[in-house]
């Protein structure tokens, strides 16, 4: 099978699992919304919330992503399916890209909900002029996060204590995406007087990050899950 065919097969399988189980819909999305509400309770200041909203959206996205990544590899480990994929000779680069694509799609939906929550809870104003940069920011950040999530999810999946190991491994690595996405979102929304031109260099950083981890994961995922 070609790389694209394997990636499509694996992505369709992961999305079908979500469609049948509704875990992201029924558990992760309420969790993400709860995090946004708790941030509001903790800060309890409308002006401050609007000012820090971009950072809170991306923090909530990161926390939610941890749950989705753990879930994505828990279903592989529960009955030895990842092992079975190795035995079946399914190409590991296809598994990596397929799982990354499924994760990206689920993350994109989550991020859209989080942004909506920011509009409702934090009085964030999204003007028509901010949409292009906002869209590109969300796409670049989502791809970067998906590649890192899949890579580190696969790395941690064979380890004991994987549930606690994953955040420890992954959160420091995604710091550049958190910073880049927050700054670019601030620029898109004009938060703290930022202009949209200030956002594009951060988008460039996230694209570079995504390319590096996408290429690295495609090459290294096989040996990570094999040994």
């Amino acid at each position: 099978m070609t790389l694209v065919a394997v990636a499509r097969l694996v992505a369709a399988k992961d999305l079908r699992i979500e469609w049948r189980s509704r875990v992201v819909l029924n558990q992760v999305m309420p969790f993400a919304a709860l995090v946004m509400i708790l941030f509001a309770f903790a800060l309890d200041n409308d002006a401050a919330l609007t000012r820090v909203a971009p950072g809170l959206v991306w923090l909530a996205a990161l926390f939610s992503m941890l749950v989705v990544v753990q879930r994505s590899f828990a279903v592989e480990a529960a009955d030895g399916a990842l092992d079975a994929l190795r035995v079946a000779g399914v190409r590991s680069d296809g598994i990596f890209l397929g799982k990354s694509a499924a994760l990206a799609l689920q993350l994109a939906v989550l991020e859209a909900v989080l942004l909506l929550a920011a509009v409702v809870l934090y009085q964030v104003d999204i003007g028509a002029g901010s949409i292009p940069l906002l869209l590109v920011t969300f796409v670049a950040a989502t791809l970067g996060l998906s590649f890192v999530g899949t890579l580190y999810g696969g790395l941690a999946s064979g380890a004991s204590g994987r549930e606690t190991l994953l955040p420890l491994l992954m959160l420091p690595v995604v710091a550049p995406v958190l910073i880049g996405a927050t700054r670019a979102t601030e620029a898109a929304l004009g938060t703290n007087g930022a202009s949209s031109s200030e956002g594009w260099p951060w988008v460039g950083l996230m694209v570079l990050f995504g390319v590096l981890f996408g290429a690295g994961g495609t090459l290294a995922f096989g040996s990570l899950v094999d040994e």
């Binding site: 099978m1 394997v6 097969l9 399988k13 079908r16 699992i17 049948r20 189980s21 279903v75 529960a78 009955d79 030895g80 399916a81 092992d83 079975a84 994929l85 190795r86 035995v87 079946a88 000779g89 399914v90």
Partner: protein, 258 residues
Amino acid sequence: MAGSLEVGHPAPVTCHLTDAIGGTTRVGFTEAVSVSSVSVAVVDLRGVVAVQGGFPVLAGADLAVTRGEIVLLRGPNGAGKTSLLRMCAGLLPIERGEASVLGHDLTVDRTAVRRRVGLLGHANGLYGDLTVADNVAFWGATVGASADEIAASMRRMGLADRLRDVKVGALSAGQRRRTALACLVARRAELWLLDEPHAGLDAAGRDDLDATLRDAAASGATVLVASHELERAGALATRVVEVVGGVVRAPAAGGEVG
């Protein structure tokens, strides 16, 4: 070959006939594959040593298995039966010795053979949130099986009717085992590596499994079964070998069956 077991069985030609077994055999049971009259070593192990977690799980294993055989691996717990199966599936690194499976030299490349073998271990390799039909379709699709072949795989293991749209997580252990076997059938493996395949199956399931394995062997596949159910698996096998301490030994008298 030192230590190899040829109990009442024609000596295999232990050469690597890649043309003969290099990917031309596809066992879907819908079309019979002619079995060559030439005895070809599908599995050819010579003095294989494998270490896992610092512990030698195979300590100089020799074994030759020819196409169409159903070989029962018997032996006590921890003897190396599962390790032998995993090594043949290319999952276990080889420290020393020679190992050829389906013409692939596993000391050089352990990955190429994987697409052509089907391993059923203690885990079933299923997705609990997917239905029986979803699971069989997914595993069949990994080798490009058609919808008809996938449906035939489910029929063969008695899953085509009321169970096909049930989530695997809601099935009994025996039904999950049946589903895993249907996935294996859909994958059209040339070498079946089964670890306690009868575990959890009811009488009808065991009969279905035995019939499936006999059909697979008759169609040109080769089957290695590790089992403690000696009576059942022994009746199925064309040959019995004993694994003790990571070494393949000659069986006790009466080891030849079938």
